[in-house]
Symmetry: C2
């Protein structure tokens, strides 16, 4: 089940947790899958020179950049994202992230609670 | 079906459309339901004194405030949201928005592509 009442949360109220296998990367889960019917909302912070290695999964991401400069490789394409810019990453495509700026990169990353396609 | 390749979009690339029945409110759809497997991401802008009237629907919202000061009423509770703050609004609860600041209010509003619960 999921929360049947509103939940308000500030980023600063959530302790950042290091992301396993990534370098200089922290996640704060604002709305976890246990609390939501359909998808989860998280905030990622990547330190300068930080990196999230290539990975894939059978669900999409919808990402919105809040701060900094992030390079994202999706399949064989590379994109540079800055604030006010969003990216949709389809299910089952390998993706990888780098902070290529000189300050912290910060973005909202949403993710479905269950696979969108078959493995 | 949905997009099987990445899509990158800047807010400024999307024409703002007035929101029907609302006052001083504009929507830009970054990732519409036709392009996405699970949920859609939109950006709302509400002018000072703008207002989105009370409404409800059988799906949730997950909202993240980017700019300004928004009052949101959910059921009988009222919340003031400022940047860096997010709100989860459960399905089937009446909600209503006001810009109570002196500048534009801007927030990301995500929404499932189909109902999360029965009507």
């Amino acid at each position: 089940m999921f929360l049947n009442k509103p939940k308000i949360i500030r980023i600063s109220e959530v302790r950042p947790e290091p992301v396993a296998n990534a370098k200089g990367t922290f996640i704060r889960v604002l709305f976890p899958p246990e609390e939501t019917p359909t998808y989860s909302m998280r905030v990622f912070e990547i330190e300068p020179q930080g990196h999230i290695p290539a990975h894939k999964h059978p669900w999409e991401h919808e990402i919105f950049v809040l701060e900094g400069k992030v390079k994202i490789k999706v399949g064989n394409e590379e994109f540079i994202l800055e604030p006010e810019t969003a990216i949709y990453i389809p299910p089952n495509i390998v993706h990888e992230y780098w902070n290529i700026g000189e300050s912290k990169a910060k973005f909202i990353c949403t993710i479905p609670n269950k696979p969108s396609v078959k493995h």
